[in-house]
Amino acid sequence: MRVQFRIWRQNGPGDANAGFKEYPLQADEHMSLLEALDLLNAELIRKGETPVAFEHDCREGICGACSLVVNGVPHGPRSATTTCQIHMREFREGETIVLEPWRARPFPVIKDLVVDRSAFDRIMSAGGYVSVRAGAAPDANAIPIGQPTAERAFDFAACIGCGACVAACPNASAMLFVGAKVAHLAILPQGKVERTRRVGRMVERMDTEGFGGCSNHGECEAVCPKSISLDAIALLNRELVRAAVVED
């Protein structure tokens, strides 16, 4: 099949000449979108042109590295699916496929379609953990956790930290990402001990990084490749309110 790529090219963070470039490509419908980009890059290399930088690693939808806005939707046309699992059969013959990087102030573009998401790591280091030293844990079955509770915690723990929620949010808010971790740990007994400190510090860090606030548009939930529910945001809000009124 023949497609036309329209790709954002940017040479470094402050590139004044950044903009879209068009590339025609003869692809196979069974290729993944990233394999089509591999093919395009191979052609560009053979022609002595600069290939397109994009982020990817596991290519099986779990590492969270891939991060393309495909035709105006973070991670592209298929719901609950990462960019790396989009195949060319999702597109029409002759279609123009527009590729942009995640756009948010806290995610500056490094090159082409690659952005810096280290803000997420800084938020996690502010409290996305249970403070337990190796060797200090009681027996794993010492605290029973109801099966539905464990499953609910898992639903939030499934976050892959890709940043699509930020990319999709009209406000570039990171509330779904932060909420997923806060909810995961607030639901489990092991995480409850530090819940007050955790939510305050993580939200403060989120604000410092420059993410926007939540306006409840639900765009994050719609594009999340792991289908993390907006409940994460409700629980994050609840945890923060709780932290403001309850003394530990």
């Binding site: 756009r103 009209p170 406000n171 420059g210 926007g212 409840n216 548009h217 719609a222």
Partner: protein, 224 residues
């Protein structure tokens, strides 16, 4: 506590939600008051006189409402400035998946409604719009609020203005109600559907409740 929770954006959102909740409740109460116009001149003028007779309580409520409104607007302005700053470069192409027109128009409907409030105050509280109707009295010598009300809305332009404002407030409250329930941490798990339904219910109620009065006057279903 090492962090100042009250300075976070979520705290600002909670402020917005709480003040918004107050405003939604006021809007519903206000709407219920207006619906008494269908009870006729006697009922309505009595209601108006009772409200006017509250004296200090009236002023306290007015001051409170003004305060809530200012808090709401201030938080809204700060948050939307922040939200805009969070994405300095817009997407060339962005296909939104989930958001609604009223969700996207919050700032617009908010500002429009704010302008309307000023007009509304000038109209019914200060009497600048139709002084001749405003200063009329009824047979018992009370201010004829009913007459002012009904005559005003027989004027198509005024009715259209009010219909527009009803739509704006309904749109605003539709998104706001569901949104504030999430911001207050209530909308999750088995409560989520109810919370998400609450917005449209409140919105439709406000639209119907507010719009039916001027429409009834315009269509001469209510006579002065």
């Amino acid at each position: 506590m090492t962090t100042d929770i009250l300075r976070t954006t979520i705290a600002a959102k909670v402020t917005m939600a709480l003040s918004g909740a107050g405003l939604v409740l006021f809007a519903l109460a206000h709407m219920a008051g207006h619906l008494q116009v269908f009870g006729g001149r006697e009922v309505y003028n009595h209601y108006a006189e009772t409200l006017q007779g509250l004296g200090a309580i009236k002023w306290a409520v007015r001051a409170g409402l003004l305060g809530i409104l200012l808090v709401h607007v201030r938080a809204g302005v700060l948050l939307s400035q922040r939200n805009r700053a969070a994405r300095p470069q817009a997407y060339a192409l962005r296909r939104l998946q989930r958001t609604t027109t009223h969700g996207r128009a919050m700032l617009l409907t908010g500002v429009a409604f704010l302008a309307f409030i000023l007009y509304h105050l000038a109209h019914f509280t200060l009497g600048w719009v139709h002084p001749q109707f405003f200063h009329a009295v009824d047979s018992l010598g009370r201010p004829d609020v009913y007459g002012n009300f009904v005559r005003s809305f027989q004027h198509p332009l005024i009715t259209i203005t009010y219909l527009g404002a009803s739509l704006a407030v309904a749109m605003h409250a539709t998104h706001a109600t569901s949104s504030l329930l999430r911001t207050l941490g209530l909308s999750h798990g088995r409560f989520r559907r109810a919370c998400e339904a609450a917005g449209p219910v409140v919105g439709v109620a406000l639209l119907a409740g507010f719009a039916c009065v001027p429409l009834a006057c315009l269509l001469r279903l209510i006579q002065p």
